[in-house]
Symmetry: C2
Subunit: 428 residues, 2 copies
């Protein structure tokens, strides 16, 4: 039996306490599965006096996470502080420099500084593992970097922010506006301290940047992501999409195209009968396409004490078994830099508009769409009592350029009574 693996845990919020609980409650199981004891040497958090629902007696306390990270009696530094600057970054850097193994749930840190940290870890002979950073309890990092190691990954797609998915599904089920559900979710504590991280799609984009790097062997490139949050998704669009057989999801997609690496996080329509379409509430789903394996779909809880702690502990168990390895699946000097391909591949689009109720209005719209090379797959005009006629169009596959041209031309027809909405429809 090897010597115990000694952890220093910084950050004692929901996830940190979840990790402490697992280490206490599953000590025997962890010993059997890893061949050694996993123990906590010391912990650190902002407020020592706070009641966390369990006693921390038996663990040394450090006010300073950097001091914790570099203690000689700590083998693995577990960073659960969060944020891509400040304490989290300082302590992870210090731990790596001190040759510690590092486990983190910090997607922002990985997305913003992952490459530099990976270089430092490689130089120090250390490792940095982050299963909990993406899609909570779903072992997607392990699946990509190990389970599909012999695959050339062709696409990564997923719903990776449970709060956004909660808001969108709740809007539909309760018939509430975005603003109403946002207030409700915020009151329930479902949103980050800075809600823009959730609803602006930033948190989900952090995760996508990490998965892209692992999938395509590229330097993590958060800035290369085309990013749009869910703030502008209206209950009208959710209802209209449902009427055409779709759900609206904040969907991340990453794939190599002829022009470079396409990474986008934006509200899209997906078929309501598809696995992504049926994803309700805070659940996450990641869809991975590989040249050998075909398509793998992983689904599970995207956040919460148990799921996230489970993922943190998977990394700890791997380290206990001696499994380390390159941070992004291959040595940093093998990672390539690909230009960001902001122009998307052709796709069908959903268009919603209100037309002035006068003769020839719909004909004008159909004409400018046709002139822009955008062909109509399905169209519905609804009965109405006021002066504007609601119209929905699902186009055949079209390029974003052609769509953009068509949208401009539509604005010039003078028959629109409000700005039209266009959303991409993603095949699953």
């Amino acid at each position: 039996m090897s010597a115990p693996l000694r952890l220093g845990i910084a950050g004692l919020g929901t996830v940190g306490i979840g990790v402490v609980r697992i280490i206490r409650q599953q000590a025997a199981l962890l010993r059997q599965r890893t061949g050694r004891d996993i123990v906590i040497t010391a912990v650190s958090a902002r407020d020592r006096a706070k009641d966390r629902g369990l006693s921390l007696t038996g663990y040394d306390w450090e006010d300073d996470a950097v001091a914790l990270a570099t203690r000689s009696d700590v083998d693995v530094f577990v960073e659960l502080v969060g944020g891509h600057e400040g304490t989290a970054k300082d302590a992870v850097e210090a731990a790596i420099t001190a040759g510690k193994q590092v486990v983190t749930a910090n997607k922002a840190l990985l997305a913003m500084h992952g490459h530099v940290l990976a270089e430092a870890a490689e130089a120090a002979g250390s490792t940095l593992r982050y299963e909990a950073a993406v899609a909570g309890g779903i072992p997607v990092i392990k699946t990509l970097s190990e389970g599909l190691a012999a695959n050339e990954v062709t696409r990564v797609m997923g719903v990776m922010n449970g709060s956004c998915n909660y808001i969108l599904t709740r809007m539909e089920s309760a018939g509430l506006t975005y603003e109403e559900v946002f207030a409700e979710a915020d009151g329930l504590g479902y949103l980050e301290a800075d809600p823009q991280l959730d609803v602006g799609g930033i948190d989900a984009a952090h995760k996508l940047a990490i998965l892209s790097s692992l999938a395509f062997g590229t330097v993590v490139d958060f800035d290369g992501i085309t990013l749009e949050g869910i703030e502008r998704v209206s209950i009208e669009d959710i209802r209209a999409a449902a009427d055409m057989g779709y759900k609206i999801k904040l969907l991340g997609v990453a794939q190599k195209t002829g022009r470079g690496l396409e990474q986008r996080m934006q509200p899209c329509l997906v078929p309501d009968t598809s696995p992504l379409g049926q994803l309700d509430g805070g659940t996450n789903m990641v869809v991975l396409d590989g040249d050998a394996v075909g398509q793998i779909v992983l689904r599970g809880p995207g956040a919460g004490e148990g799921p996230t702690a489970s993922a943190v502990m998977a990394d700890v168990c791997d380290i206990a078994r001696g499994v380390t390895g390159p941070v992004f699946g291959m040595p940093v000097n093998a990672l390539t830099r690909m230009p960001a391909a902001h122009a998307e591949l052709p796709a069908p689009y959903y268009l919603r508009m209100s037309l002035e109720d006068k003769p020839g209005a719909l004909a004008k719209i159909a004409t400018v769409l046709g002139e822009a090379g955008v062909s109509i797959d399905r169209m519905r005009q609804y009965g109405h009592e006021d002066t504007a006629a609601p119209v929905l169009i699902v186009t055949h596959k079209t390029t974003p350029d052609a769509l953009s041209t068509a949208m401009d031309a539509m604005a010039g027809t003078g028959v629109l009574s409000a700005d039209p909405v266009a959303l991409r429809i993603e095949a699953v």
Copy 2:
């Protein structure tokens, strides 16, 4: 850079050739991801002259798989012969004794002899990995043994035989009988040489036995599985289940109960809107419940050249990176033997019967159900032109004992015009 990892591959069917293809086509990627070259030293199969669609020049040929398994220039023996006795078993044993690492896709071998092989591997300081043995390209072995390593797994459930799922979904979509679709699938080469392995549920039960061992830390116990194939699933039941909102699936379930380890593989009804209910064709799905993580659902191709070879190569890549570890997730002496709990936990049941068209028939059935303690949730009697009235019942949760009593009592009423059908309904 470490020395090349040298493979000896026995069995050059679909999967073996898929492995050869990946090693050739992805040599650079594999080197980047594992830090070393992965090469094939020698191969073995029954028929050297057979055209396999690619040249095997450059690999030594061995007529005898045992000789291949023990070559001094082979580090990893890859067993893709199949079958739980004969060549596969002899060669795997020889490889382990010779201290080789072994990778296999052989679910039958693991299910029947896994424990003895694990003991031998542990004694020899060798390893035996088998990601491809369960659910094809889905990395479920890795997810259970590593991704959920810190969880006490509470249930394993899944559809793990693509051929059966193909037959059942094809019966429904084409309105064909079991016999018609069986003949069709057999003609298309979708079934094992011994089709009973597929339709009798044996292949799926092998997989369930392996997952149970990993999930619950128990000695693999194929004989403890309650097993029923799909041969008796009729198109009438598929239609009637659909009418009540269900699909019929060959479903494996393993969980600890108060009486021991319950493992069963049998046709069950699942809600048609559930992830399992929507699983069409040859796709597999595994649902894992863990105390910390909650529920994880994995879905992907359950068979075929690419997916299975992808899983074989995941094991090879792990070995190349130095990742080995106990065969069933913990040392063999830590694995426990649990009694088989054949009596199932209570569940709702689906009952289909034909009643003689005479007054009071339905009342008699309702009475004996009530007397046996089986209460009715939903009931439908259909219009009919002949003398027998089709009746469907969905019960509330009931014990298998109570159901059995009720079925016996129903037979004694004299109002049934044919043997009734009872199928368990599984909550997902």
